[in-house]
Structures are given as structure tokens and as C-alpha cells.
Symmetry: C2
Subunit: 238 residues, 2 copies
């Protein structure tokens, strides 16, 4: 049983493989999810895409759930590392929030299949009210605002309002782009459009509901939110 190539590969295991790593695993998983959706992410498939048996993955990840958490954290953390997002010396808090919002939105559109998880997975610290994952991120947010003159209450309020605004908008934005369809078809024909005859108003307004001014709407909502946050901050710290 020393030779004879049972898997079609040189059975001799580790040979000159670049070697797995947690990062490699996460990246491969992320790619699987991005095209194909969450359902495509099985340990065996992930293994195959890394040219490795499924069980090898467990060296780098405790379980499939942990893998998912890892994905979420990785994506969020890479956002945190994005220089275009970090708060910079010269800008005020509103600029900071705008940049963060843009960054998160970019993440949502890059990984639409993953985003629902980001908004949905039980967070590491559930008592952090709006649990936007990545504690590091929350920390940065809070200190960032406070260093920009926010009171503690103001920062907390801002964090909550901001997080829920982002999640709400982006989740809907993402779920509107066909997120779930089976991956066998790269982009098969959309499901045979539903019968709308029972919903006249919906039918009549359909074109306009489908309209794509999401950019404008997002921006508008964000400015609105910033104004609200600013007001509140002013109240809390006269």
C-alpha cells in the first residue's frame, strides 16, 4: 500500500505542496462562496479545491461553523486594514463614517453571497448591541469617534444607528441581486417571473421598484443618518 495511486495523485502525501494555511483555507472557501453561494461550501469541495482531502481542513478550522465565522471575520478585518477606510488625521467624524460606509458597502458587493452571514451570524460578543462582528472593528469605531469629539453616549448611539443602517440597506441591496440561485447554471434564466396579476399596484409600479438608483438612495440615507447622529452628539455634549 506504499505505492499505487489511490487518489490519482502521487499518494505520497505532503511532497512539495506549498502547504495549507489558515489563510489559504479561508481564501479558497471565500472563492467557493463567491461563485456558487454558501451551499457550495462543503468541506469536501473545499478540500478538492485545495487539492487536499476534506479532513485536512480541520487542522486549520475547528468546524464548518468556525469556518464561516472565520470567513466573516476575515472579510471584515480586511476592511479594517483598508487604508481607504481608516480614519485619517485631517478628517472629521462624518468623513470617517462616510468612508467606513463605503468600505462596508464595497465588501457587501464583492461578497454578496457572504454578506447575509455577516449580518446574521451570532457575534462573538452578543451583548454588543448591534453586533457587527469583528470586535476590532467596533473598537476602532468607538475610539475613532471619541477622538473626534464624541461623548461616550454619542459614540454608542452613533455605532448603533450606523450599524443598523448599514445592515438594513446592504442586506436588501445584496439580496436583490440574485444571491441564492443554484450555481450549476452560471447565470441561468431568472426563475419564470412570478404571476403578478393578483397584485395590480405592484405590477404597475414594478419598473420603478426595480430601478437602480441604489447609489443615490444609499448616499441620501447616509447623509440623513449623519445629520441625525450629529444632532444627537450635540445634545449630549453641549
Amino acid at each position: 500500500m506504499v505505492d499505487g495511486e489511490p487518489t490519482g495523485e502521487r499518494a505520497g502525501a505532503t511532497r512539495r505542496r506549498p502547504g495549507l494555511s489558515r489563510a489559504a483555507v479561508l481564501d479558497a472557501a471565500l472563492e467557493l462562496v463567491d461563485r456558487g453561494g454558501l451551499a457550495q461550501l462543503s468541506m469536501r469541495r473545499l478540500g478538492a479545491s485545495l487539492q487536499v482531502e476534506a479532513m485536512a481542513i480541520y487542522r486549520y478550522v475547528r468546524s464548518r461553523d468556525a469556518l464561516l465565522d472565520g470567513l466573516v471575520d476575515r472579510v471584515m478585518d480586511q476592511l479594517y486594514a483598508d487604508p481607504a477606510v481608516l480614519l485619517q488625521e485631517g478628517d472629521d467624524w462624518a468623513d470617517f463614517l462616510r468612508r467606513v460606509a463605503d468600505g462596508v458597502r464595497r465588501v457587501a458587493r464583492q461578497h454578496p453571497q457572504l454578506f447575509p452571514l455577516i449580518a446574521t451570524r451570532p457575534p462573538a460578543a452578543p451583548w454588543v448591541r448591534p453586533p457587527l462582528r469583528s470586535l476590532r472593528w467596533v473598537e476602532g469605531f468607538l475610539t475613532g469617534l471619541q477622538s473626534r469629539g464624541f461623548s461616550e453616549d454619542g459614540a454608542i448611539y452613533a455605532y448603533r444607528a450606523f450599524a443598523s443602517f448599514l445592515v438594513g440597506h446592504l442586506l436588501l441591496e445584496v439580496s436583490a441581486k440574485g444571491v441564492d440561485p443554484v450555481p450549476t447554471e452560471p447565470t441561468g434564466p431568472p426563475p419564470p417571473d412570478v404571476d403578478l396579476s393578483a397584485y395590480p399596484e405592484l405590477q404597475r409600479l414594478a419598473p420603478r421598484l426595480a430601478v437602480e438608483d441604489l447609489d443615490e438612495e444609499f448616499a441620501h440615507g447616509l447623509e440623513d443618518l449623519l445629520e441625525r447622529i450629529g444632532e444627537r452628539a450635540r445634545l449630549a455634549r453641549p
Copy 2:
């Protein structure tokens, strides 16, 4: 094989069972999900809870996914049937939206395990921008607003802003309540609280982040939103 009771029941099938029905299936599924979470909803378990073999369920539901969609629709539709939510003759649009918001929030808290699905599942008509499921519901929303003097654009804008506000707030609210934990423990001890030493600001503000003034915050955000919607409507229809 004609007798001998393989399942512990009278094998003779249909006998005097109340008989399954789509409604019964959905109700049982909903109960399974409510206590135990989505992961507990397997066809076999659902079958068992209906005293039926798993495959019997497929007479009433095309697949597990369809089951989930059915759950979402059922919950949303029952909201639509709620007399406390329907718009009534005397009230203006703001009252209507307030009541809808309360209704959806009630749903979210009654079925916290299901709510992420509501916000997440690919909608029947993906082109309806914020896809709040239940087309019937959207229809009611649009006609309701328009009959209250909203322009078409105003109604559409209101729908979008309203839906994303609701989803954002409620999703975070729900996911903060431990949603996912394994169901074996009715309410086991919360996961061994994360180590926060790396995040001083977070640690310092933790008590306040955990604070439970969600009611107030929700109400505040809602009023704010209503104001914004009203403004926009006024612009569109001078």
C-alpha cells in the same frame, strides 16, 4: 410485512389521523424553529413531530427550501391579517406605518430564529427592490400609502426606506438575543465571555452597549424615518 408495527404506530397509514395539511406542516415547522433554531428543522424531525414519516411532508411542500419560504410567507401573511396592523379608515399614513412597524417588530420577537430568514431569503420577485417577501404585503403597503395621498414615487421611496430601516433594526435586535445557540441546552450558560483585554474602549463601554433601551431607540429611529418620508412625499407632490 403487512402487520407488525414498524413505526410503533398502527402501520395502517391514514386511519383516523386528523390528516396532514400544509397549514399543519407549517405550524409544526414553525414551532420546531422557534424552540431549537433553524438547525433543528430537519424533514425527519418535522415528520416525527407530526407523527408521520419524513417523506409524507413532501406532499405539502416541494422541498426543504420551499418549506422555509413557506414559513416566511406564513409569518408575514399572518401579520397582514392582523387587524391591529391593517390600515384603518381614520388614520393617516404615519399611523399606518407605525402600526406596520410595530407589527413586524412583534413578529421578529415572536420568531427570532426565523427572522433572519425573512430578511435573507431570496424573494419571490427579486426585482422588487427591498424584497420584504410577501408580495401581498408589498401590495397592501403601496396601495395604503397612495390612498393616503402619496404619489407613486413617494410610496416607492417610503417602501424602500421603511423596509430597510425595519430589516436593519430588527435583524440586529434579534441577533443580539442569543439566536443560534445549540438547542440541546434550553438556555445553557452564555459562551464563556470573550476576552476583551485587547479592546479597552469596547470593554469600558460594554455595559452601555448592552443596555436595553432598544424600544426607545427603535421608536426614535422610526419617527425620524417618518419625518424623512413625509418630507420626500411633500417634495414629490407639492
